[in-house]
Symmetry: C2
Subunit: 106 residues, 2 copies
Amino acid sequence: MATNQLAGWSVLGDRTRRTIFERLTNRPSAVGDLAKGLPVSRPAVSQHLRVLKEAGLVVDRPAGNRRIYAINPDGLGELRAELDRFWTSAMTAYKAAVEQPDEEKT
Amino acid sequence: MATNQLAGWSVLGDRTRRTIFERLTNRPSAVGDLAKGLPVSRPAVSQHLRVLKEAGLVVDRPAGNRRIYAINPDGLGELRAELDRFWTSAMTAYKAAVEQPDEEKT
DNA sequence: ACGCACCGTAAGCTAACACTTACGAACCTG
DNA sequence: CAGGTTCGTAAGTGTTAGCTTACGGTGCGT
Protein backbone atom coordinates (compact mmCIF):
# COMPACT_ATOMS: atom_id res chain seq x y z
CA MET A 1 0.00 0.00 0.00
CA ALA A 2 1.74 3.08 1.20
CA THR A 3 5.33 2.72 0.18
CA ASN A 4 6.45 5.37 2.61
CA GLN A 5 5.72 5.37 6.30
CA LEU A 6 6.03 9.03 7.20
CA ALA A 7 5.78 10.78 3.89
CA GLY A 8 2.83 12.97 4.73
CA TRP A 9 4.77 15.95 5.94
CA SER A 10 7.21 16.26 3.09
CA VAL A 11 4.70 15.26 0.43
CA LEU A 12 2.26 17.96 1.45
CA GLY A 13 5.07 20.46 1.71
CA ASP A 14 4.48 21.36 -1.91
CA ARG A 15 1.82 23.98 -2.55
CA THR A 16 0.46 22.47 -5.73
CA ARG A 17 0.18 19.10 -4.08
CA ARG A 18 -1.68 20.54 -1.12
CA THR A 19 -4.09 22.24 -3.49
CA ILE A 20 -4.71 19.02 -5.38
CA PHE A 21 -5.20 17.18 -2.14
CA GLU A 22 -7.68 19.74 -0.85
CA ARG A 23 -9.60 19.66 -4.11
CA LEU A 24 -9.90 15.95 -3.80
CA THR A 25 -11.38 16.33 -0.35
CA ASN A 26 -14.22 18.22 -1.98
CA ARG A 27 -14.94 15.65 -4.62
CA PRO A 28 -13.23 12.85 -6.51
CA SER A 29 -11.97 14.12 -9.84
CA ALA A 30 -10.33 13.08 -13.05
CA VAL A 31 -6.85 14.26 -13.95
CA GLY A 32 -7.91 16.64 -16.67
CA ASP A 33 -10.54 18.28 -14.50
CA LEU A 34 -7.99 18.86 -11.78
CA ALA A 35 -5.54 20.34 -14.23
CA LYS A 36 -8.13 22.77 -15.56
CA GLY A 37 -8.26 24.64 -12.29
CA LEU A 38 -4.51 24.70 -11.79
CA PRO A 39 -1.72 26.82 -13.26
CA VAL A 40 0.25 23.76 -14.30
CA SER A 41 -0.06 21.32 -17.15
CA ARG A 42 -1.90 18.04 -17.04
CA PRO A 43 1.20 15.83 -16.92
CA ALA A 44 2.43 17.84 -13.94
CA VAL A 45 -0.81 17.05 -12.15
CA SER A 46 -0.38 13.42 -13.11
CA GLN A 47 3.07 13.34 -11.53
CA HIS A 48 1.81 14.97 -8.37
CA LEU A 49 -0.95 12.42 -8.18
CA ARG A 50 1.59 9.65 -8.45
CA VAL A 51 3.50 11.07 -5.50
CA LEU A 52 0.31 11.38 -3.49
CA LYS A 53 -0.62 7.85 -4.43
CA GLU A 54 2.76 6.45 -3.40
CA ALA A 55 2.33 8.21 -0.09
CA GLY A 56 -0.98 6.44 0.35
CA LEU A 57 -2.93 9.68 0.46
CA VAL A 58 -5.07 9.09 -2.63
CA VAL A 59 -6.46 6.18 -4.58
CA ASP A 60 -7.33 5.93 -8.24
CA ARG A 61 -9.94 3.98 -10.12
CA PRO A 62 -10.42 3.68 -13.85
CA ALA A 63 -13.69 5.05 -15.17
CA GLY A 64 -13.98 4.31 -18.82
CA ASN A 65 -11.80 6.68 -20.66
CA ARG A 66 -10.71 8.58 -17.61
CA ARG A 67 -9.18 7.88 -14.24
CA ILE A 68 -10.83 9.11 -11.09
CA TYR A 69 -8.65 10.07 -8.15
CA ALA A 70 -10.06 10.26 -4.65
CA ILE A 71 -8.91 10.70 -1.08
CA ASN A 72 -7.74 7.53 0.61
CA PRO A 73 -9.41 7.30 4.03
CA ASP A 74 -6.60 5.15 5.38
CA GLY A 75 -4.03 7.65 4.24
CA LEU A 76 -6.07 10.41 5.79
CA GLY A 77 -6.07 8.48 9.05
CA GLU A 78 -2.34 7.90 8.90
CA LEU A 79 -1.76 11.54 8.20
CA ARG A 80 -3.90 12.39 11.16
CA ALA A 81 -1.92 9.98 13.31
CA GLU A 82 1.35 11.42 12.08
CA LEU A 83 0.30 14.97 12.85
CA ASP A 84 -1.03 13.91 16.23
CA ARG A 85 2.17 12.11 17.08
CA PHE A 86 4.26 15.06 16.12
CA TRP A 87 2.11 17.50 17.95
CA THR A 88 1.68 15.63 21.21
CA SER A 89 5.34 14.77 21.28
CA ALA A 90 6.30 18.36 20.72
CA MET A 91 3.82 19.67 23.26
CA THR A 92 4.63 17.25 26.05
CA ALA A 93 8.33 17.80 25.63
CA TYR A 94 7.84 21.52 25.48
CA LYS A 95 5.69 21.67 28.57
CA ALA A 96 8.14 19.54 30.46
CA ALA A 97 11.00 21.73 29.36
CA VAL A 98 9.17 24.87 30.40
CA GLU A 99 8.23 23.57 33.81
CA GLN A 100 11.76 22.41 34.49
CA PRO A 101 14.29 25.04 33.51
CA ASP A 102 16.82 22.97 35.40
CA GLU A 103 19.46 22.58 32.73
CA GLU A 104 20.76 25.94 31.90
CA LYS A 105 20.09 28.95 33.97
CA THR A 106 21.18 32.14 32.24
CA MET B 1 6.66 38.40 13.41
CA ALA B 2 6.13 35.48 11.19
CA THR B 3 6.88 36.64 7.69
CA ASN B 4 4.80 33.90 6.14
CA GLN B 5 1.27 33.00 7.03
CA LEU B 6 1.37 29.39 5.93
CA ALA B 7 5.00 28.56 6.33
CA GLY B 8 4.53 25.64 8.65
CA TRP B 9 4.06 22.99 6.04
CA SER B 10 6.93 23.87 3.80
CA VAL B 11 9.31 24.85 6.58
CA LEU B 12 8.78 21.64 8.51
CA GLY B 13 8.77 19.64 5.32
CA ASP B 14 12.50 19.24 5.67
CA ARG B 15 13.64 16.36 7.84
CA THR B 16 16.64 18.10 9.35
CA ARG B 17 14.50 21.07 10.25
CA ARG B 18 11.91 18.88 11.92
CA THR B 19 14.65 17.20 13.94
CA ILE B 20 16.06 20.52 15.05
CA PHE B 21 12.62 21.73 15.97
CA GLU B 22 11.87 18.62 17.98
CA ARG B 23 15.18 18.89 19.79
CA LEU B 24 14.33 22.40 20.74
CA THR B 25 11.07 21.24 22.23
CA ASN B 26 13.11 19.18 24.67
CA ARG B 27 15.36 21.98 25.74
CA PRO B 28 16.73 25.28 24.47
CA SER B 29 20.12 24.75 22.93
CA ALA B 30 23.05 26.54 21.41
CA VAL B 31 23.91 26.14 17.75
CA GLY B 32 27.01 24.05 18.29
CA ASP B 33 25.26 21.66 20.64
CA LEU B 34 22.52 21.14 18.10
CA ALA B 35 25.03 20.51 15.34
CA LYS B 36 26.85 17.89 17.43
CA GLY B 37 23.89 15.55 17.30
CA LEU B 38 23.19 16.05 13.63
CA PRO B 39 24.77 14.69 10.46
CA VAL B 40 25.26 18.17 9.03
CA SER B 41 27.73 20.92 9.70
CA ARG B 42 27.23 23.79 12.10
CA PRO B 43 26.63 26.45 9.44
CA ALA B 44 23.93 24.25 7.96
CA VAL B 45 22.21 24.19 11.34
CA SER B 46 22.59 27.93 11.53
CA GLN B 47 20.84 28.35 8.22
CA HIS B 48 18.03 26.06 9.25
CA LEU B 49 17.61 28.05 12.42
CA ARG B 50 17.32 31.22 10.41
CA VAL B 51 14.52 29.69 8.37
CA LEU B 52 12.77 28.53 11.52
CA LYS B 53 13.21 31.96 13.03
CA GLU B 54 11.81 33.74 9.98
CA ALA B 55 8.83 31.42 10.17
CA GLY B 56 8.31 32.51 13.76
CA LEU B 57 8.80 29.02 15.12
CA VAL B 58 11.88 29.72 17.24
CA VAL B 59 13.45 32.62 19.06
CA ASP B 60 17.09 33.28 19.88
CA ARG B 61 18.79 35.02 22.71
CA PRO B 62 22.47 35.80 23.17
CA ALA B 63 24.10 34.10 26.13
CA GLY B 64 27.62 35.32 26.47
CA ASN B 65 29.68 33.70 23.85
CA ARG B 66 26.90 31.55 22.50
CA ARG B 67 23.41 31.99 21.19
CA ILE B 68 20.56 30.03 22.67
CA TYR B 69 17.67 29.01 20.44
CA ALA B 70 14.31 28.05 21.90
CA ILE B 71 10.79 27.27 20.78
CA ASN B 72 8.58 30.27 20.23
CA PRO B 73 5.26 29.65 22.00
CA ASP B 74 3.43 32.01 19.66
CA GLY B 75 4.80 30.19 16.64
CA LEU B 76 3.80 26.91 18.21
CA GLY B 77 0.28 28.25 18.60
CA GLU B 78 0.14 29.47 15.05
CA LEU B 79 1.39 26.14 13.82
CA ARG B 80 -1.29 24.44 15.84
CA ALA B 81 -3.90 26.75 14.35
CA GLU B 82 -2.62 26.13 10.85
CA LEU B 83 -2.71 22.38 11.26
CA ASP B 84 -6.16 22.59 12.80
CA ARG B 85 -7.44 24.75 9.99
CA PHE B 86 -6.09 22.39 7.38
CA TRP B 87 -7.37 19.33 9.09
CA THR B 88 -10.89 20.50 9.88
CA SER B 89 -11.25 21.94 6.40
CA ALA B 90 -10.12 18.72 4.84
CA MET B 91 -12.28 16.59 7.08
CA THR B 92 -15.49 18.55 6.74
CA ALA B 93 -15.12 18.70 2.98
CA TYR B 94 -14.33 15.03 2.84
CA LYS B 95 -17.26 14.00 4.99
CA ALA B 96 -19.61 16.13 2.93
CA ALA B 97 -18.24 14.64 -0.26
CA VAL B 98 -18.66 11.12 1.03
CA GLU B 99 -22.25 11.66 2.07
CA GLN B 100 -23.09 13.10 -1.34
CA PRO B 101 -21.54 10.94 -4.02
CA ASP B 102 -23.81 12.46 -6.66
CA GLU B 103 -21.40 15.13 -7.79
CA GLU B 104 -18.97 12.88 -9.52
CA LYS B 105 -19.52 14.11 -13.03
CA THR B 106 -18.10 17.45 -14.12
C1' DA C 1 46.73 41.89 24.62
C1' DC C 2 46.59 37.41 22.92
C1' DG C 3 44.49 33.20 21.77
C1' DC C 4 40.44 30.44 21.68
C1' DA C 5 35.73 29.18 21.22
C1' DC C 6 31.20 30.25 19.21
C1' DC C 7 28.50 32.01 15.71
C1' DG C 8 26.55 34.31 11.26
C1' DT C 9 27.18 35.04 6.48
C1' DA C 10 29.04 34.89 1.74
C1' DA C 11 30.26 32.11 -2.17
C1' DG C 12 29.95 28.05 -4.65
C1' DC C 13 28.65 23.36 -5.73
C1' DT C 14 25.47 19.47 -6.33
C1' DA C 15 21.38 16.97 -6.29
C1' DA C 16 16.65 17.09 -6.18
C1' DC C 17 12.40 18.97 -7.73
C1' DA C 18 8.67 20.88 -10.31
C1' DC C 19 7.63 21.70 -14.82
C1' DT C 20 7.37 21.33 -19.89
C1' DT C 21 6.91 18.99 -24.48
C1' DA C 22 6.61 14.70 -27.02
C1' DC C 23 5.05 10.25 -27.56
C1' DG C 24 2.34 5.96 -27.14
C1' DA C 25 -1.35 3.17 -24.93
C1' DA C 26 -6.21 2.47 -23.73
C1' DC C 27 -10.89 3.79 -24.41
C1' DC C 28 -15.13 5.43 -26.32
C1' DT C 29 -17.92 7.13 -30.32
C1' DG C 30 -19.08 8.01 -35.20
C1' DC D 1 -12.11 1.07 -38.61
C1' DA D 2 -11.01 5.96 -38.12
C1' DG D 3 -10.87 9.89 -35.25
C1' DG D 4 -10.91 12.16 -30.97
C1' DT D 5 -10.30 11.93 -25.71
C1' DT D 6 -7.98 10.92 -21.63
C1' DC D 7 -4.08 9.61 -19.42
C1' DG D 8 0.79 7.84 -18.00
C1' DT D 9 5.55 8.06 -18.87
C1' DA D 10 10.05 9.31 -20.86
C1' DA D 11 13.27 12.86 -21.76
C1' DG D 12 15.02 17.28 -21.06
C1' DT D 13 15.32 21.96 -18.89
C1' DG D 14 15.54 25.72 -15.25
C1' DT D 15 15.29 26.70 -10.71
C1' DT D 16 15.64 26.02 -5.99
C1' DA D 17 17.22 24.05 -1.67
C1' DG D 18 20.42 22.10 1.33
C1' DC D 19 25.08 21.52 2.07
C1' DT D 20 30.11 22.60 2.41
C1' DT D 21 34.24 25.47 2.98
C1' DA D 22 36.13 29.94 4.01
C1' DC D 23 36.09 34.13 6.31
C1' DG D 24 35.06 37.98 9.66
C1' DG D 25 33.04 39.44 14.00
C1' DT D 26 32.23 39.03 18.92
C1' DG D 27 32.81 37.50 23.68
C1' DC D 28 35.52 35.04 27.29
C1' DG D 29 39.68 33.34 29.65
C1' DT D 30 44.58 33.33 30.55
